[in-house]
Amino acid sequence: MKIIGISILMFVLLTVFSLYMDILLGFDLNTSINNAIRPFLVMEVTEIVIFFLLIVLMVVGTVRNFYKKRKKKEQR
């Protein structure tokens, strides 16, 4: 769970970072947010499937590790 928390924190900060770079380039906030989101709106089915598969894999891996650790603690 800690891992997912760290990753989400990093991702949010990096997105803010990237938006700020767009603003420094001369775009306004709305345009830079649109530019960031647009590539995901025009994805093909295969891309969407792979994208969600990767997210599911990440969540499943972390949750599995979490339960494994819990079991180990209980056994002790």
Binding site: S7, L14, M21, M43
Partner: protein, 385 residues
């Protein structure tokens, strides 16, 4: 920190592959026109100075990564903030290199394939490598360096044999004086690719022989600088300044003009192999530094477990970073250099070195004062006896 060690030779190869990585792709220093090669060489000299700054910091704290020694130098609170900024910076740079790679493939080879798919394939390989650790990365670099070396030699041979080099394209040298070369150096080549070596500060603590760090680093920077300068000189002499300025990937255009004996042509695969290998190592090094840095900052015991989630963040960031290739390039040339590279590669490390120097001097003078006092005390006790 991972319990791994890499040899001096492996570090040497890693630095060379890292430096060549995406610098081979784009027309670096082309603002200096036909003196681009000179701007790269001057940038290389600046790279030496920057590396000596990073080495200076390393020599004060040889066993710990920068994310830890920053906290020792400027205090825990500000140190953690700066270390976190550096980790974000490394992730951001790896996303930029990944985007470069994807755009290169899409523009020239895979017109129908979505950028997301190409980037996903690369990220999955990078994640796998990083999960295996720095030793595996270093050994892979040893293997692939031989391939790159052979490819480079054969490309050079074919370019020379096909007779497409026109030295007159490199003339007049210093047409607009040294000013333009220096300006290009300080706005571009000093930071990309030489200043990016700051990421190796995260890898230096893994070296088996710390006494070789300085020599090996300077040697690798020198060699990669010479390779980049000569390649840029070849690009300009083959294509001419105007074509290099207009071409997004000049090395590819140069390789495409090779034609030997009427049948050895269309050697684009050389370019793909060289750049894919180089870019792979560049992303890996940035990504490894960010994974180790994050694990160190957030006290995660198994840093390998961070590889997949952070890899996913890099993948998404590489897509959202810019809406098109021109925006991506413009951002890299004008915004990143000024607002990220300059402070994080030059200003902050120099200030850190200055503070570390003053701190260590104070410590040493305190220690020597204590020693003198102890000796005086002993001598006086002897006299009393």
């Amino acid at each position: 920190m991972e319990k791994a060690k890499i040899s001096a030779y492996q570090l040497f190869i890693l630095i060379i592959l890292f430096e060549l990585g995406s610098a081979l792709l784009v027309p670096i220093a082309i603002e200096a026109k036909q003196d681009a090669w000179l701007a790269i060489l001057v940038g290389m000299v600046g790279g030496f100075c920057l590396y000596l700054v990073y080495y200076g910091l390393y020599s004060y704290y040889p066993d710990i990564p920068p994310t830890e020694y920053i906290q020792k130098i400027i205090g825990s609170f500000f140190g953690k903030i700066f270390a976190f900024i550096y980790v974000l910076y490394f992730i951001y740079l790896s996303a930029r290199v990944l985007r470069d790679f994807g755009e290169m493939l899409i523009t020239d080879f895979y017109w129908e394939t979505p950028l997301f798919i190409l980037n996903t394939l690369m990220v999955l390989i990078v994640i796998y490598t990083i999960r295996k650790g720095i030793e595996v990365l270093a050994r892979t670099s040893e293997l692939l360096f031989i391939l790159i070396f052979l490819l480079g030699i054969s490309v050079l041979f074919l370019i020379v044999v096909s007779g497409i080099i026109q030295i007159s394209n490199l003339e007049p040298v210093l047409e607009e004086g040294l000013k333009l070369v220096i300006k290009t150096t300080f706005t571009q080549t000093l930071y990309f690719p030489f200043g990016e070596l700051i990421v190796f500060a995260m890898i230096l603590p893994y070296l088996k022989h710390p006494e070789k760090v300085k020599r090996i680093g300077l040697l690798a920077i020198g060699l990669s600088g010479l390779i980049l300068a000569s390649l840029m000189a070849i690009n300009v002499s083959v294509l001419g300044v105007n074509n290099v300025t207009r071409s997004p990937f000049p090395l590819l255009s140069t390789i495409q003009t090779i034609e030997v004996a009427g049948f050895l042509e269309r050697l684009d695969v050389y370019f793909i192999l060289i750049t894919v290998i180089g870019v792979f190592f560049k992303i890996c090094v940035f990504f490894y530094a960010s994974v180790v840095g994050t694990a160190n900052l957030f006290k995660v015991k198994e840093s390998a477990r961070l590889a997949f989630p952070l890899g996913l963040a890099i993948l998404i960031l590489s897509i959202t970073i810019a809406s098109n290739f021109s925006e991506h390039v413009k951002e890299g040339l004008h915004v990143i250099t000024l607002y990220l590279h300059l402070p994080l590669q030059v200003i902050v490390p120099s200030l850190l070195l200055l503070i570390a120097f003053i701190k260590n001097k104070k410590k040493k003078s305190k220690q020597s004062k204590n020693l003198i006092l102890k000796r005086k005390y002993r001598l006086s006790e002897r006299d009393k006896k």
